[in-house]
């Protein structure tokens, strides 16, 4: 009979290296948050471009979206980190390269999310704003955007979870994120099952927390139900309205 070696799971490694692993997760989330903020604005920009009346701008935007939606994160970061340095002689830090690579990819997804959300806002809303004599910018900012964001936020949350996971490929440029840390601990102890299971668990925990946070953000934009977060944020306004109602009834 074949002699199977006794498997020794060194689960204690997870606890021993807890601060290193958590630090890796924090790095991954840091990069993702920077990229989230950038992608939000770049994506919105491309969404507006795609809805422009000028065919040239629409074409430019859809080309951008279709190219970057199709590129894997690994390729994107190698491009940005090594490619940019070879072509232009400028070296990004690994952190910068990670943020730029993610932004390039995710702003294209965001552009599509925003486009569909903006188009979902009823045409009558813009008409009503215009009929009241509100400027186009004001109509967009105060009427269309808040309604579109409510539609877009759940998708943005899913995208953000995807961003955190995609940082795992940034190991190739030596960014000290979770997989990079896991690999270096593994190199010493050769416990891939234990260590990568721990890494996976941390990603899942992060996904739960992110989901919870985005639900809280979504609740601020939801109506007519008023979430506690929204009630807190609008407490002064509600107090004024309460006074006005009493004064006028």
């Amino acid at each position: 009979m074949e002699d199977r070696p006794r498997i020794n799971f060194m689960w204690h490694l997870v606890w021993d290296f807890r601060s290193e692993l958590l630090q890796g997760l924090v790095t991954a989330i840091n990069v993702s948050i920077s990229a989230l903020v950038l992608s939000f604005f770049v994506g919105l920009f491309f969404a507006l471009m795609r809805m422009s009346r000028y065919g040239f701008l629409r074409g430019l935007s859809s080309t951008y979206v279709n190219i970057f939606r199709g590129i894997p994160a690994l390729v994107s970061v190698i491009w940005v980190y090594f490619g940019w340095s070879l072509l232009f002689g400028y070296n990004f830090t690994v952190y910068q390269a990670g943020v730029i690579a993610l932004t390039l990819l995710y702003s294209s997804f965001f552009a599509e999310i925003f486009r569909s959300a903006l188009e979902a806002v009823h045409k009558g809303q813009r008409e009503a704003g215009a009929a009241l004599g509100m400027s186009r910018i004001r109509v967009f900012r105060s009427i269309v955007l808040p309604q579109a964001l409510k539609i877009a936020i759940p998708n943005i949350g899913s995208m953000f979870i995807g961003m955190v996971k995609d940082t795992s490929t940034f190991t190739v440029i030596g960014l000290g994120e979770l997989v990079y840390i896991t690999q270096s601990i593994n190199a010493q102890y050769f416990q891939p099952f234990v260590l990568f299971t721990a890494a996976a668990a941390l990603y899942v925990v992060a996904a739960f927390v992110i989901d919870y946070l985005f639900r809280a953000i979504e609740s601020i934009f939801s109506y007519p139900r008023q979430s506690p977060v929204k009630r807190f944020l609008t407490r002064r306004k509600r107090a004024q309205v309460q006074r006005l109602v009493e004064a006028n009834s």
Binding site: H122, L132, R138, I143, Y223, V241, A247, N248
Partner: protein, 200 residues
């Protein structure tokens, strides 16, 4: 009439200023659409309230962004307008929490909050339950009594007969018949008589 639909030709003259492209070959428009819209209130068939804002904020947003008043002042004005249409108790409700008739009254209050010189009503009661038509017409009648100039597109012939000073009967985009306050009694146009007869 407030240039939401951009006219291909012809123009609207309001308070001595001409808006729109004018009759072909004439001078281009002289007034900006935005300036016209700020003087002309509009009420839509589908209300078009902003669903993400409470009744009072629907009005306050318009006041704040068009007149430049502070948000607090805008809310004070909004409260006054809501009181006039009898909805001050519903100030905090969102459009989804109001009946159709209430929504339309908020929409009227919203248009009035900007002190328009003219009010346009685009079939204001067509999307309403028959039961709720009355409350909206009551608000409009009240408004007419204050001397507001109103242009009302409506199928409510009873209301038009009672309130209208000038009546125009339209079909397929053309004016078929027109007349003054006594239009309903004196109109001789066959098609208009037929319509009035079938609705009144």
């Amino acid at each position: 009439m407030n240039l939401l639909e951009e006219p291909t030709e012809g123009s609207v003259i309001f308070e001595g200023i001409e808006y729109g492209p004018g009759v072909s070959d004439s001078k281009p428009k002289r007034g900006k659409a935005l300036d016209l819209r700020r003087q002309v209130g509009m009420v839509f068939q589908q209300f078009n309230l902003f669903p993400h804002l409470s009744a009072i904020d629907n009005i306050a947003l318009a006041v704040h962004s068009v007149t430049g008043k502070s948000k607090e002042e805008a809310r004070e004005r909004a409260a006054l307008e809501l009181k006039k249409v009898g909805l001050i108790k519903w100030a905090m409700n969102h459009p989804a929490q109001l009946s159709g008739g209430q929504q339309q009254r908020v929409a009227i209050a919203r248009a009035l909050s900007l002190d328009p010189k003219l009010m346009l009503f685009d079939e204001p009661t067509s999307a309403l339950d028959p039961e709720l038509v009355g409350e909206v017409l009551a608000v409009m009648r009240q408004l007419a009594e204050t001397g507001m100039t109103m242009v009302v597109v409506t199928h409510e012939m009873g209301f038009a007969k009672e309130v209208g000073d000038q009546c125009i009967f339209m079909e397929d985009g053309y004016i078929v018949a027109s007349g003054g306050a006594d239009f309903f009694d004196t109109c001789t146009n066959e098609r208009a008589r037929q319509f009035i007869g079938s609705v009144l």
